[in-house]
């Protein structure tokens, strides 16, 4: 579920916080996850925790939808994402249906 609109260097301080939040809550380290949630609330407010968690939830859902139904991108979108696919090594994912 990558979007070509995101580039590696295009992050604000808030986005660094969000990256740490996602990495923490998908991992097994409960202390790290608690700290990431607390930092998000402290820096941005509890409504950010709700909305960021909702987006996490959406893509926990959409990744199962895409991979469970064998969803493929149309050739034009694959072409448009070619640089991103190459840069991040996405073709190596077992779920790469090209």
């Amino acid at each position: 579920m990558f979007r070509a609109s995101i580039s590696a260097g295009d992050t604000s301080p808030d986005q660094a916080l969000l990256e740490e939040f996602v990495d923490a809550v998908v991992g097994d380290d409960t202390d790290r996850a608690d700290e990431a949630r607390a930092t998000l609330i402290d820096r941005l407010g509890p409504e950010w925790l709700v909305d960021a968690s909702a987006v996490v939830a959406n893509f926990e859902m959409m990744t199962r939808l895409a991979d469970g139904t064998g969803a493929r991108m149309i050739p034009q979108r694959l072409e448009a994402a070619a640089t991103l696919i190459d840069e991040f090594g996405l073709a190596a994912f077992p779920s790469a249906r090209m």
Partner: protein, 227 residues
Amino acid sequence: MPTGDIVIRPDLMAAQTAAWAHVTSPGASWSGAERAAIAATALAALDDPDPLPPWVTPTTAARELPIEGVLPAAVVDATYRIARHAATLTEDWYASQLELGIDPIAYVEMVAIVCSVAAVDGFFRASGLPRPPLPPTTEGDASGVHPDVEPATLNWVPVVGPADVKAAVVQGLTAAADDCDIIWRLASAQYIPADEMGEMRWSRGTLARSDMELIAARLSAARECFY
């Protein structure tokens, strides 16, 4: 973490509540008891502190699961695999599920149940708030009412036609119409309303669109989802 000042938006709570109620209610292919068993199996897979590798099935590994005897072993195994290891699925694996006797339309409904469970579980896991239990089962047989479907090239599964004219994730669950509606209601509350999808500056007032896409990309990479 103190949670007293965390308020879940009403639209999000309503979408989650509807999804939670739907997974334990009769569907088109599965009875209420069967759907509740699929949902409980998916939750058990997501909660498993020592998950089985993708190539080991819970029934052959004698893994204890919350509901025994309601579902065929193939359905239990497929549910666990989709919930826990979706990125490892292949078209050959999908074909093998049909050979094991899973009906293609019933398979789509099963995927949709796992998707709903992954969404609700994902929210509460990420936020650290206590996840509500699955609601009691609403007993009842499957309706057996299905839309007309056709084969697709952008999905393994059959879809409501015309196939391949919309994004594959939009068409993927159309064979399970009621569940498909639930999924897109969740998506609207969790992410972006469908009619705002093209607006790259859309925001609820907190996350900017670029923030949402960053979370989406980071999560999808963690789940090794190419799409």
